[in-house]
Structures are given as C-alpha cells and as structure tokens.
Symmetry: C2
Subunit: 314 residues, 2 copies
Amino acid sequence: MRITVLAGGVGAARFLRGLKAAAPRADITVIGNTGDDITLFGLRICPDLDTVMYTLGGGIDEAQGWGRAADTQTVLSELAAYGAEPGWFSLGDRDIATHLHRTSLLGAGMPLSEVTALLCRRWQPGVRLLPMSDDPVETHVVLAGDGQTIHFQEWWVRLHAQTPATGFVISGVERATPAPGVIEAITNADVVLLPPSNPVVSVGPILAVPGVAAAVRAKTVVGVSPIIGGAPVRGMADKCLAAIGVPTSAAAVGAHYGPDLLNGWLVAEEDAGADRDPGLAGVAVRAVPLLMSDPQAAAAIASAALNLARELTP
Amino acid sequence: MRITVLAGGVGAARFLRGLKAAAPRADITVIGNTGDDITLFGLRICPDLDTVMYTLGGGIDEAQGWGRAADTQTVLSELAAYGAEPGWFSLGDRDIATHLHRTSLLGAGMPLSEVTALLCRRWQPGVRLLPMSDDPVETHVVLAGDGQTIHFQEWWVRLHAQTPATGFVISGVERATPAPGVIEAITNADVVLLPPSNPVVSVGPILAVPGVAAAVRAKTVVGVSPIIGGAPVRGMADKCLAAIGVPTSAAAVGAHYGPDLLNGWLVAEEDAGADRDPGLAGVAVRAVPLLMSDPQAAAAIASAALNLARELTP
C-alpha cells in the first residue's frame, strides 16, 4: 500500500509513528511543510522536517515533542553571551549540528530534498521524507492593527501567538515548485492522509505549493481533525484559525479543507455531530477516539484512517 | 607608549599576555594573521585571532593553548554521526558559537575587522585586535613530489606537517588590502614587536599583505626568536622553515626577517652566538631566557623586548 502524508510537526510525527505501526509494510512518503523554516544565527532550520525525522528515527525529545533528546544548550548560551540575536529561539547543541550540516550542504548548492535524504540516511525514519519544495517558502503572519508582517516563528515562539493576527502570507509559495518526487508521490498513492496537523500553517502551505492541491484532490483523501471538542489538542491552532475566520471546531476545519479535497474526516467522539455540518456534505465523517496519548493510541487512529480510506476507495 | 604586534596564535597570545603585564599602560594594537583561516562545516574559523582573543580575554584552554576552556564536543560528535567532512578538525561547542556568530555576521556583509571588534566587546582582551586584512587570504602548502597544494590547516592538523612541503602559497594576498587601522597602527607605533610566532606561516602572511612590510620597515622593530637551541619551542615551525630552505636556528630566522626589517632580535641564552651571523649584521641581538613557561616568564621576555626597543629608538 502506498500512503502519502502531508505533514506538519509534532502532531504529524506522532501520527506517522502510529501509521508505521498500523501499516508496517506500507510504502510511506511524507511531504513535509517547510513554511516554518527560518534562518537564525546563519543556520537554516527546518522544524517540521526535523521533528518528523527525529521522531521516526528515535532521536526526539519525547517530553518536548521537538528537538533532540538529552540535548544541551552550550552553543546557545555562548551566542547569548555575544548578544547574538534573536534571543527567543531555543536550540540544543545536538540539534544545531543538524542545522549546521544542512546549512553547509545547502550553501554548497545541494537542494533541500537531497539534504533531507542525506540527513535521513543517519536517522532511518522508515518513510521517504520530502520537503514540499526545494524553493525557500516562509510563512509570515499579518498582525492585527498596523498590518505589520513577521515571520511565523517570531509570532509563534516569541509572541506565543498572543498578538492577534489577521492572516498569513506564505511568502514565495507562488513561485515555488514541488520538490522532486512530491507530485509523483501524491499521484501514485493509494491514499493521501492529512494528519492532525495545523490546517492553516502546516498543511496549508503544502497545499499552496502550485500543483499540490490539484494532485491531492484527484486522490482518496482522509484527514484527522486536529481539533477535539472545540480546542486544539496541542499548539495554538485556534489562534491560526481565528486569524482566517474559521471557527475552532472539528466540523469547521473539515469544511475548511472542503469536500473538494476531503473524502473522509476523522473526528473525536465528542465531535460526532460534525457530520451534520453542511460544509462537510459528501464527506464521510467518522468519530473515533482521537487523543494520541501514546504510540498505541496513535496507531489506532492511523488504523481508523486507513480503514476509512479503504472504505472510500473506489 | 604605542606598541603594535604582528601576531600568530599560541606563542603570540602568551607573549601578549606578558606584554600587557610588562606595559600595563601601553596602547597595544595586535595585527593578527588570518592566513590560517578556514571554512569548515560552513563555519568561518579564524584560529589565530581567536587564540589571541580567548587568551587575553580569559577564555582560553590553557593546557591546549587554543580553543575554549572546559569545552565539550557535542556538535562535533553529531556532525561525525552525519558523516560530515572533514573529520580531522577539532572544534568545541563553546568555540563553535564564536564561529557561528562570526559566520553569520560576515554573511550579513560585516567585514572581518568589525566582526572581530564585536567579538572582542565580549572578551575585552585589553588590546585592539585587528585582522591583517578583511579580504579572505588562505595559506596553502605546496607538497613535495607532485606539487599538489592543500590548505595549511589540512597539512598542519591532519598531516601533522609530516608530509614534506616545498613552499607556501598565500592565496589571495596579492589582492588583499590591509584592514582599516592596520597601516596607521604600524605607522603610529613607537615600536613594532614580532612575538615568537611562526615566521613562515604566522608573521609571513601578515608581512605579505601589500603595504604592511614597507610600513613595518620604517619603524623600530624588535623580534623574539621562536627557535631555542635549534628547535621550535612549540608547534612545527621547523617543518615550515625547512620547506622554504631556512635552517631551524634563531640566527637563521632573524636573518630570514633580515636587517632591513629587524632592528633588534631577542634570542635564547643558548643561542647567544647568533650575533655573529652575517645575516644579522646591523641587528642588535640580545640573549635572554626565552622559555615562556608561565605568565611571569612571558612578561620578562616582553620587558626585554621593550628595553631593547627603547635602546634602539632614535
């Protein structure tokens, strides 16, 4: 079975770990969001790609959900002693080595997709991990009030998404082309899965890469709601949804993807009523336990998604 | 008193610590060799500038002579796990932060002299530290046999200078201009000192920057021999001298600088006979204890150099 997953960070990584357990013989391609990418201290940082790579490769800081296990902050504290900006982004020493190696390879002219494949030779994530594009794309946030735009990471990490936003600009996406293998992985997939990632700033930028949404729409697509009982399970997806005028509900997020894209939509049991939402007309909605409290729970959710996909496959 | 010093790495740094103790009210400018600089893992590394900065700023690994005290190698071991090349250069985590900050500032267009000044705001070395040039200059080694050239660091660190060399190419130096303040610091100095640095690959590249040697020749110049009793005190200066056909002796190194440049030459007591070398005709040679076994010894050597300079100043 060929499965292609459009992935953000922590939620996607945990879902993917469940998916590997639920479908151990499947051929899984992960198309990772690079809109969160940022250059800090001269290092090119790809948080979502790394979270997937570390989680599936056994190197993740489990408690934190991102970054390397048992990491130290020697380099960061030295950078702070130099007054290097910015002071608001946390980076461990082990993690910095990844960024340093990636930055060096990118600087030598290697495209991000090849760099990612090279990094994965160490981590052996058990999936093929592709960035959505080799072209730099950065999600910027339009702040309420003066309309100033700042990098998504500054809004998310420094401002904790507490400064109201009125929208997002996926800078560079209109000129970006899908990375080699992305369109093929979607076209050749038996099913495309949307894990419980942030629909606005994680899955949204992937779908915004020219050609990706059209390729996805042609497939059997099953999504997993990142909203349970009116609140994001993790992160601050509610702030992102509010910025684009979408209510924080499983039904509204499903409707945001829309029946054109989604064939199946997994919601939590408390959101079972979502199937009555007119925005989900024609979408097969199933209510199952959606809390990824441990790898077994994640595997059960992935199984439910695959079962729904099989049911919907012509 | 205005003192300008042309400095390599460890020997120069220890001499400078002695000089600061011997002349606490002097206005000291250090012109640092950048021919040893190298880009590894995408990081711009300036070993000589950093050794001076760390030593005078209290951050040096005393036992090793270079790098940061109490440093760890987390980033390097992670880079090795990725198979990042080269594997032969050692870099501590604290040290990497310096290179990362420098590389980032250089990448933003700041010249090396300004970057160095910025780094020194943290370290407060008590001297003005200038790179010999803001232009990239790299010392390459011509290997015996096939005449292949490799970066000095590869010869020095990876090959331990055990592969015979037939010369050095100071790549880029003919097009380099002295960094802002370099010529002025020499011209305005009461004395120019050559510390016991490697004459070939440390002081040599500085003197090779167009305009520097002429400015130095116009001044009262006192040098300290890096050779004691026919052997380098530290490092492998003998291998460098052999490559350019200069015997490993205090007299021969003095003659290599030559009477056009040198006014005074401090040699070790066992090399007192150096004053009979015809290559040192017209140079005031003084024999004093030259082993910088501790900061007090270094201060005594610096005092002897200053005394000789005063004696020779018109």
